[in-house]
C-alpha cells in the first residue's frame, strides 16, 4: 500500500475574469501521507481554498497533476470525478454546508444516495453517525434550526457518510465560537484517531498547533512544510 494518499505535481491554477488573470497557484508540489492530520495555513487570498478544491477533484488545474491514492485524477471525466467526490473524499466548508430544505438526517442520507447506498441503509447509518456527534435529538431539524456548531457537526457527519479516505475542510471553525469550535475539533481528532486523512485549511493557531504537519501557502506556492 502506497503511504502517500495525496500528491500534486507542479500544480498551477489561473483564474480568468474578463481580461484579468489571477495566478492563484503557481507550481505546487505536495505530498500528504495516509492517515495524517495536516493544516494548510497562509494569508488570505493566497490560494489555500484553490489548492483544496483541486486536490478534492472539485475543480481542474490549469497545469500540473493530482494523484489520489496513486491514481491520477487530473484527466478524469466529470462523472468519474463526481463518483470520486461521492465515495473517497469528504468536504466541509466554512459556511452554509447543508442543503437548507432538508433535515439533518436527510442531508446525510443525500450524500449516501450519490454513492448508491440503498435507502434503508441510508437511514440507519445517518442516524447512527449523527448519534456519534451527539445530535440524536436533531434528526429532523432543518439547518436553520441548528446552531453553527451543530450545523458543522452535521456537515462533518455528512462528509463521512460514505466512509471516505480523505476529509478536506476549508475553515470549518471559521465562524464558530470557542465552545462550538472545540466540539468540532473533538470530532476531527476522533476521526484522525480512526485513521482518516484529514486536511484542514485554517487561520486558527490552535488547530495548527494540534496538526502533525503544517503547510504554509504564500502567493500560490508552498513555502514551508511539504
Amino acid at each position: 500500500m502506497n503511504d502517500t494518499i495525496i500528491r500534486t505535481e507542479n500544480l498551477h491554477k489561473t483564474y480568468t475574469t474578463g481580461k484579468v488573470k489571477t495566478h492563484a497557484l503557481r507550481g505546487v508540489d505536495l505530498e500528504i501521507p495516509r492517515g495524517s492530520f495536516s493544516c494548510i495555513v497562509g494569508p488570505s487570498g493566497h490560494g489555500k481554498s484553490t489548492l483544496m478544491h483541486l486536490v478534492g477533484g472539485l475543480d481542474r488545474p490549469t497545469a500540473g497533476r493530482v494523484f489520489i491514492g496513486g491514481e491520477e485524477i487530473t484527466g478524469l471525466s466529470g462523472r468519474r470525478l463526481a463518483a470520486l467526490r461521492a465515495r473517497r473524499i469528504g468536504f466541509v466548508f466554512q459556511f452554509f454546508n447543508l442543503l437548507p430544505g432538508l433535515s439533518a438526517e436527510e442531508n446525510v442520507a443525500t450524500a449516501m444516495m450519490f454513492a448508491g447506498v440503498p435507502e434503508k441503509v441510508q437511514r440507519d447509518r445517518s442516524r447512527e453517525l449523527l448519534a456519534l456527534v451527539g445530535l440524536s435529538d436533531k434528526l429532523r431539524a432543518k439547518p436553520s434550526e441548528l446552531s453553527g456548531g451543530q450545523q458543522q457537526r452535521v456537515a462533518i457527519v455528512r462528509a463521512l457518510a460514505n466512509d471516505p479516505d480523505i476529509l478536506l475542510m476549508d475553515e470549518p471553525t471559521g465562524n464558530l465560537d470557542s465552545e462550538s469550535e472545540s466540539e468540532v475539533l473533538a470530532a476531527v481528532a476522533k476521526l484522525h484517531g480512526e485513521g482518516k486523512t484529514v486536511v484542514i485549511v485554517t487561520h486558527n493557531g490552535e488547530i495548527a498547533r494540534r496538526a502533525e504537519r503544517v503547510i504554509r501557502v504564500k502567493d500560490g506556492i508552498i513555502v514551508e512544510g511539504y
Binding site: 478544491h53 462523472r79 461521492a86 468536504f91 466548508f93 452554509f96 454546508n97 437548507p100 432538508l102 443525500t110
Partner: protein
C-alpha cells in the same frame, strides 16, 4: 433519500411560488381542455344534424349566404323565400322526392318553440316517422299539431291538450317517437295552416330533396336549376360550410388556449430560473458531495416536469368540470339553439384527457430545459464560492 423525493422537497419549499406557477399551467390546460371539448362537441352535433336532415340536396332561395344555408341545419327561423309553385315543379322531376319546410317560431311558457309547416303525408314518408302516442294528421290541412317527443316531455303535453301558437289554440293530435335529434324539439303543423297563420302567402322556407341515384347528383342539381330560379346546395357542401364556420370558431378558441399555455410556460421558466439562481450554492454542495452534472440537470428538469404533471391533472379535471357546466350556456348560440339534448361535454373523450396531460408535461419539460441546463453548466467552484 431518492431523486423523486428530493425533487418534491425542492418543489414545495417556496409554497406561494409553487402554488401560483401551478395555477398558471392549470388554467392554461383547463382552458385548452374546455375549448377542445366544446369545439369537438359542436362539430359532432353539426354532423348529427346534417345526417338527420335526411336529404341529399337542399333548395334555397337565390342569394343566400353560407350562414343562412347553415341555418337550415339548426332550425333557425328563415325567410319564406320560395313560392310553393316551385315545389311542384321540382317534385315533377323524375327520380327525386321533394318536401317543403316552412320554419317559424312561437313562444310557449316563455320558451322559444320551433314551428314547422310541412306536407303531412310527404313528410311522414320522407322521415319514416312513427307515433309514440295519439294519431298523425288525418288530412293535409287539418288545424292541429303533431309534436316532437322532446317538446312533449319538456312541457308535459299529451294528445288532446291544446297549445297556443301565435295566439291561436290548436289541439295536439299526437306525439312522434323519439328520433334523438332536432325533430324531437319542434311542433309540426300542416303547411297550408302554417302559411295562413303566419301570413306568408304560398311561400316556403326551403325544400329538402332526396335523390334515388346519388351518383347522378350533379345532373339533378342542373335539372332543378333549369326548372326553377333557385340555389341548390348539397348536404356535403352544407356540412362543409358549417364545419368551416365551426372550424374558425374553434381555431380562435384554440389560439386563446395556446396563448394561455404559452403564458404558463413562461411562468414555469421564470420560476425555475429563479430557483436556479437562488440555489446556486446548493448546486455546489450537491456537486461537492458527489452529484454528477446529469443528476443536477434531471433534478431541475423533473422539478419543472412536475408542474406539468400536476397542472395537467388539475387542468383536465377543471376543464372537464367547466365544460360540463358551461356547455348548456355555450350551446345556446345560433348554431345549436335547438339541440337541447346535445351536451358538448360528452365529446370529451379519452384522447383529449390523455393528450392534454401529455401536452402539459411536454410543455413544462421544454420550459425546464433551459433552467436545468443553466444549473448543470455551473462548475462546482463557481457554485460553492457564491454567497
Amino acid at each position: 433519500m431518492n431523486i423523486p423525493k428530493l425533487v418534491v422537497k425542492n418543489l414545495t419549499r417556496r409554497k406561494g411560488r409553487f402554488v401560483f406557477t401551478l395555477l398558471g399551467i392549470t388554467i392554461g390546460i383547463a382552458s385548452f381542455v374546455t375549448l377542445l371539448s366544446l369545439g369537438g362537441g359542436l362539430k359532432k352535433e353539426i354532423r348529427k344534424q346534417a345526417a338527420e336532415l335526411g336529404a341529399n340536396l337542399v333548395v334555397t332561395p337565390k342569394g343566400w349566404c353560407a350562414y343562412e344555408q347553415v341555418s337550415v341545419l339548426t332550425g333557425e327561423q328563415l325567410p319564406e323565400g320560395i313560392p310553393f309553385s316551385v315545389v311542384g315543379k321540382i317534385a315533377a322531376i323524375k327520380g327525386l322526392t321533394a318536401v317543403p319546410y316552412l320554419t317559424e317560431r312561437t313562444a310557449y311558457k316563455n320558451n322559444p318553440v320551433s314551428v314547422i309547416g310541412i306536407l303531412p303525408e310527404e313528410m311522414k314518408r320522407f322521415k319514416n316517422w312513427e307515433m309514440e302516442q295519439g294519431k298523425y294528421f288525418a288530412t293535409q290541412d287539418e288545424k292541429a299539431l303533431v309534436i316532437g317527443s322532446g317538446i312533449a316531455g319538456q312541457f308535459e303535453l299529451k294528445p288532446g291538450d291544446e297549445l297556443t301558437v301565435k295566439g291561436e289554440r290548436f289541439p295536439i293530435r299526437g306525439i312522434l317517437k323519439e328520433t334523438g335529434g332536432k325533430d324531437d324539439i319542434a311542433v309540426y303543423m300542416p303547411l297550408s295552416v302554417t302559411q295562413k297563420l303566419y301570413e306568408v302567402g304560398s311561400n316556403v322556407s326551403f325544400i329538402a330533396i332526396k335523390v334515388d341515384d346519388i351518383a347522378r347528383i350533379d345532373a339533378y342539381i342542373l335539372k332543378i336549376q333549369e326548372a326553377a330560379n333557385v340555389a341548390v346546395v348539397s348536404d356535403k357542401q352544407l356540412l362543409k360550410s358549417v364545419l368551416a364556420i365551426v372550424g374558425t370558431v374553434s381555431m380562435t378558441l384554440q389560439l386563446i388556449a395556446a396563448v394561455a399555455i404559452l403564458a404558463a410556460a413562461f411562468g414555469i421558466i421564470n420560476t425555475m430560473m429563479t430557483a436556479v439562481s437562488e440555489r446556486k450554492r446548493e448546486i455546489g454542495i450537491l456537486q461537492a458531495i458527489g452529484a454528477p452534472r446529469g443528476t443536477i440537470f434531471s433534478l431541475f428538469l423533473l422539478e419543472s416536469g412536475f408542474y406539468g404533471l400536476l397542472g395537467g391533472i388539475f387542468g383536465v379535471v377543471g376543464g372537464l368540470l367547466f365544460s360540463l357546466f358551461a356547455s348548456p350556456y355555450i350551446s345556446q348560440n345560433e348554431f345549436t339553439t335547438l339541440i337541447k339534448g346535445g351536451d358538448a361535454a360528452g365529446a370529451l373523450d379519452l384522447r383529449i384527457i390523455f393528450g392534454s396531460m401529455l401536452f402539459s408535461v411536454a410543455v413544462s419539460l421544454v420550459s425546464g430545459l433551459y433552467p436545468a441546463w443553466k444549473a448543470a453548466r455551473m462548475t462546482p467552484v463557481e457554485a460553492i464560492s457564491y454567497e
